[in-house]
Symmetry: C2
Subunit: 386 residues, 2 copies
């Protein structure tokens, strides 16, 4: 038990406060551990796994994890219309994305010790007077300590008043849930501390706040995120996981091992002192071990190496086409490479499509169906048709 | 009609914008003129009369006046608990104070062209999502331009987040009422402009904002207000109005004439070039003319002069006491000088009570009732008993 706590503490960047944490852990109470989930981004990647694996440790110690889905703000979207990446979601969308979220998260977590809460449950019931009460608990000076608020305010960049309310909502979630501990990435430190402070203002014991490092993306620069397409998704196929692992910049590979796997420091040292290409493959192997089937590792590795050499891999999926001849665009849709004819056209015009090794440039090209004919898109997508 | 507009314009400190004002006035539309009323301070004084008399001019031009009673915020009070002069009011209190307000205001205004609106009607129906929509219309930079917010923020003085919401509420009132013009004291400029901006954001034509000077109080320093006890109330008795007029500092008397009476500049010049004590009395005469009965002026003046000389005035009210002897405290209650025996005691112990010119110091003193005996409290309250 203390070992688990030590692992958690070692990974944490900051703890507010370690004394409170020790006291709560030793209290024999079943603790409520809160993690916020953004319903507009339901796809989890190994960046998320850093905190998820901390949560798992807490579950192993007997505590309960609550994912708070921020569906209330999700449904409002961005009323200022400035943030176009935040369209308003419907009730159904938020429920569906919460389901997707849970499904992925339980690749790591114990489903029986995990529950989902939607913050619209309490926030949608609050009226203007309740909002005034909530906002009266917080000073402008304290909210403006948040770096991005401060920078935008001081540099005359747009900052709408409603944005100041979001950290308070998130903090109010902790009050509603009577959270004992809230964890998150270091970029969430400010928001998590708001919850800690608000609980005190509402007469509760303050939650312990623990922050963990953010995993850098495959570009080696930005935080891993789906929108930057620099991520390894938990639901990526084993082959995708392998392929993406090979793309991790060498200089950050150690960090990936430290944050996203369970290997000990000794094991990581040993791997990193060997061949770097081999080290990438071993990282992929760890991912398959955790999220998929490690038995697939050798065949995936072989396939990857073949493709890298420019060869058509073994075991390419076969698709039956019930025609003698077919337009290339229709064919791409039929075998699932394109979702529409217009997408298929773009793929061809980008010179990404080959049939039996020959690049197709004519979008009206008619393909004769023949046993074993190989259709290829990009470097690593293959289908055999018959 | 243009004369009335000219009088209004001459008194205004700022107009946003004069062009809009002229256009609206010339549109033949019956305009809605908004004035905010604070339900926690229902006692009107001649400081309020400055804008009330402007409103009367608008009414004479055919427009309608709406008093918006800020009962919503009034009922919330100050949730931060910092402002002890702002206790939460009940629904009944806000209604009663609105009634009191209207009763006093119609000493100046035409009751048939005046209506009262309570902002709880719409603000209490707003939920958190509505608040977010409202706050999304306004940037932090713009709200922080308000002087007192800016100063408190920059000087690290307490400023709670809910305070930033108040100007938006007041502005939202203009949206709800579709106000054409809002008027107020110069101290309200910022808040009135919020309404002007919000209306535009909600797709309405922006209200014209007009601000008027604040009348300085009898102390010659602070803005006139009941809480500072430096005011001449619209419902003060004619004698109180006279007495307080005599206390106006000489240096601000011209300003009182300009802002609180209808006299022309020529008339004011003439009065101010004469005897200053006489000028104070003429100011009192104007007040009686507007709010009471000017016929009382001469007798009040005479009484005032007698008291100033230390004499007992003529025409002191007589009260019949159905006893031969009475305790002094009971007597003070009986004749209405004190509302309780304990108050009577305090009056005596403060050496403020005289009987036939003799100061009473013994709270157990027994007074023999006799025709024409004079009881006096302070300098100017007298009753004859028999």
């Amino acid at each position: 038990m203390n070992d688990k706590l030590e692992i958690i503490k070692r990974k944490a960047v900051q703890i507010f406060s370690e004394e409170d944490l020790d006291r709560k852990i030793n209290s024999d109470k079943k603790l409520t551990i809160k993690l916020g989930a953004d319903p507009s981004r339901p796809d989890l990647h190994i960046g998320h796994s850093v905190v998820l694996r901390v949560l798992k440790q807490f579950q192993d110690m007997g505590h309960e994890v609550v994912f708070v889905v921020g569906d209330f703000t999700g449904m409002i979207g961005d009323p200022s219309g400035k943030n176009k990446t935040r369209p308003a979601l419907t009730f159904e969308q938020t429920r569906k994305s919460a389901e997707t979220y849970l499904e992925q998260a339980t690749k790591i977590l114990d489903k029986n010790k995990t529950r989902i809460a939607f913050n619209s449950e309490w926030l949608s019931k609050m009226n203007f007077a309740d909002v005034i009460k909530l906002t009266s608990k917080y000073t402008v000076a304290r909210i403006m300590e948040r770096d991005d608020f401060k920078n935008r305010f001081e540099n005359n960049l747009p900052l709408s008043m409603h944005e100041l309310l979001y950290p308070l909502m998130q903090g109010h979630d902790s009050v509603e849930l009577k959270a004992d501990i809230e964890i998150g990435g270091t970029d969430q430190t400010f928001n998590l501390l708001v919850g800690r402070e608000l609980q005190k203002d509402y007469g509760q014991e303050s939650q312990v706040v623990m922050t963990f490092p953010l995993l850098v993306g495959l570009d080696g620069k930005e935080k891993m995120s789906k929108s930057l397409d620099n991520y390894i998704g938990l639901t990526d196929s084993p082959f995708e996981k392998f392929e993406k692992s090979m793309k991790i910049p060498d200089v950050v590979l150690r960090q990936y091992f430290e944050l996203a796997t369970d290997l000990s420091t000794d094991e990581i040292d040993k791997i990193m002192s060997g061949d770097i290409r081999e080290a990438h493959m071993l990282f992929a192997k760890e991912l398959l071990k955790m999220y998929d089937d490690v038995n697939e590792f050798e065949s995936i590795k072989e396939r990857y190496i073949n493709i890298a050499k420019g060869e058509i891999p073994d075991n390419v999926e076969e698709v039956k086409i019930d025609k003698k001849e077919i337009n290339i665009c229709d064919l791409l849709v039929e075998i699932g490479f394109a979702s529409s004819k217009s997408e298929a056209k773009r793929m061809i015009l980008g010179n990404g499509v080959k049939v039996d090794g020959e690049v197709i440039t004519d979008i009206n090209k008619v393909i004769t169906i023949a046993e074993g004919k190989v259709v290829q898109f990009g470097k690593n997508r293959f289908k055999k048709i018959f």
